[in-house]
Symmetry: none
Subunit: 249 residues, 2 copies
Amino acid sequence: MLKEERQQAILEKLGTDKKVTLVDLGQILNVSYDSVRRDVIELEDRGLLKKVHGGAIAHSYLSMKASKGLGIVNTEFVTIAKKAIKLIENNKIILMDGGTTNFYIAEQLPKNLEITIVTNNPHLATALSEHPKIEVILLGGSLYKRYQITIGSKTIQDLEHIQADCYFMGTNSISIESGLAIRHYEESILKQKMMSVSRKTITCVLEEKINREENYKVCNFADLDFLITSLNPADEQLKNFRNKGVEIL
Amino acid sequence: MLKEERQQAILEKLGTDKKVTLVDLGQILNVSYDSVRRDVIELEDRGLLKKVHGGAIAHSYLSMKASKGLGIVNTEFVTIAKKAIKLIENNKIILMDGGTTNFYIAEQLPKNLEITIVTNNPHLATALSEHPKIEVILLGGSLYKRYQITIGSKTIQDLEHIQADCYFMGTNSISIESGLAIRHYEESILKQKMMSVSRKTITCVLEEKINREENYKVCNFADLDFLITSLNPADEQLKNFRNKGVEIL
DNA sequence: AGATATTTTGCAAATATTTGCACAATACCT
DNA sequence: AGGTATTGTGCAAATATTTGCAAAATATCT
C-alpha cells in the first residue's frame, strides 16, 4: 500500500468520522502503528489535520466544509502558514500585527511550540488561548474598530520595551517601486515602529496583493528579511523581487 | 476516547446546556470522574469555560452570546445593567475590567452614548465595535488566559497616564468584614490600581456573591462609591451594607 | 540491467503522557 | 455544626511517543 494512498484514506476517514485513533487506523489500513503515526505527522505538517495524543481529529475548517458545505479552504493560507511556521523556533519572541494571514498562521502554530507572541490584534490574542504553551502579550492602545487592532502612541510606547526576534507584518500591497504600503496612516507608522524593534521582518502576502500599490508606505521592499507567498519562489510573478537581499520562500 | 474528543464534547454540552456537573459528564462520556475533572481544568486554563464547584459553566462571553440568541438572559443582568447605565453620562471616561456583568453592561450601553471605555478585557473591547460612538482603549499586558484579561506590570503601567471618571469593578465576593476580594493575587493588585486612577468606583454584584469571601482582598466595602445589585436597595440581604457611605442602587 | 543511493517501513528500548484510584484537605448544604 | 460532596495531590499502571536502527521497497544512475 502506497503512502499517498494511506494518507488519502486517513483524510477520508477523518472527513466522515471527525476523529480516529492511530490503533484503529493501523488495523483498518493494515499497516504498522508507526507508519500511520508518521503519516499523521506528515499530514499535520501540511496542515490537513490536527494530531492529538493517541490519534487525530479533523481540522475545524475541514469539518466546517463537511458539515456546512461552505467555504473552500483557501489553499493559499495553508501554503503560506506552512512556510511561515518553519521560521519559528522555540523560545523566540514573535511580533504579529493584524490581518487574516497572521491570524491563520497563529491558529496553525504547533501546539508544543514554546514562544511568546506579542500582538496588537485582540482576536489573535484570544484565539491563542488554544495554545497552552504560548505566552501572549497584548499591546495596549486605542482600538481601531475597522481593522480590530490597537493603534496610536500608546501602542508605540508599549513597543519601546520590546525586542522581538521576528515580526510578521501584514500588508495590503507590495511592489518594487513603492515597497510595502497600506491604507491607514497611523497603522503605517506603527508598522515602522514594529520593524525597528524586531531583528527580522517577514511578510506573508497573498497573490492578489503582489504588485499592487496603496497610500501609506511602510518600508522599501529591500528592508524586509523574508517574503512568503503561496507561489513557488521561482515563479515568474516574483521575478522582480529577486536579488534584493530578501529571502523568498 | 481521545482527550480532545472529550473536551470538545464538554464544550458542546456547555454550548447547549450552559452548565454541567462533573458527575454527569463522567457518565455521558463514559470516563472516570478524574478525567473529566482534569479536562475541565485544562479547558478553564485556556479560557474556554468557567469551572465551578462540582461542575462547569459556559464561559461568560460564549454563554452570553448563546443565551442572547435564545432570548434567555439572566434577569439579574438586565436589572443590574439598567441601574448601571443610569450612572454613565456622555463624555465620561469609564474603566471596566473583566467579568460577565461588565461584559453585559457594555453590550447594553445605548448606541448614541459618546464615551471612552478603557478596559483590560479584549472580548469586551471587540464587542464594543458595535457601538460606533464609543472610543475603546485596550490596556496592554500579558494575557491571562483563564480569565481572558490582560494583567501584570505592563497593564498597571498603562494605567499611570489615565484618569477615569468611574471604574466598574468586577468582583467575586463582597462582605462587610472582608470587603471585596477575588481569587487571583495579581488581579487584586491591578484592581487596586484601577481604583486609584478613578474618581468613583462602582461594583455590580450578583446575589450569589453577596456575603461570600475570597482570598485576595481588593478594598474595604466603604471604599466603594456605589454598590449595584439586582435586589431592591431596601432588601433584607443588604441590611449590613447600609450607612457605610456607599450608595446602594 | 545491475549497482548504489534514498526513502519507507517495522521494531524495540527509553521517555513521556494519560488515566484511574486513594487519601487528606477543603467547600458546600441543611 | 456535622455529614456529604468536591478538590488537590501523589502514585502506579496502562498507553503513547520518541528515537535509533536495520531490513525492505523504491528510485536513481551509469
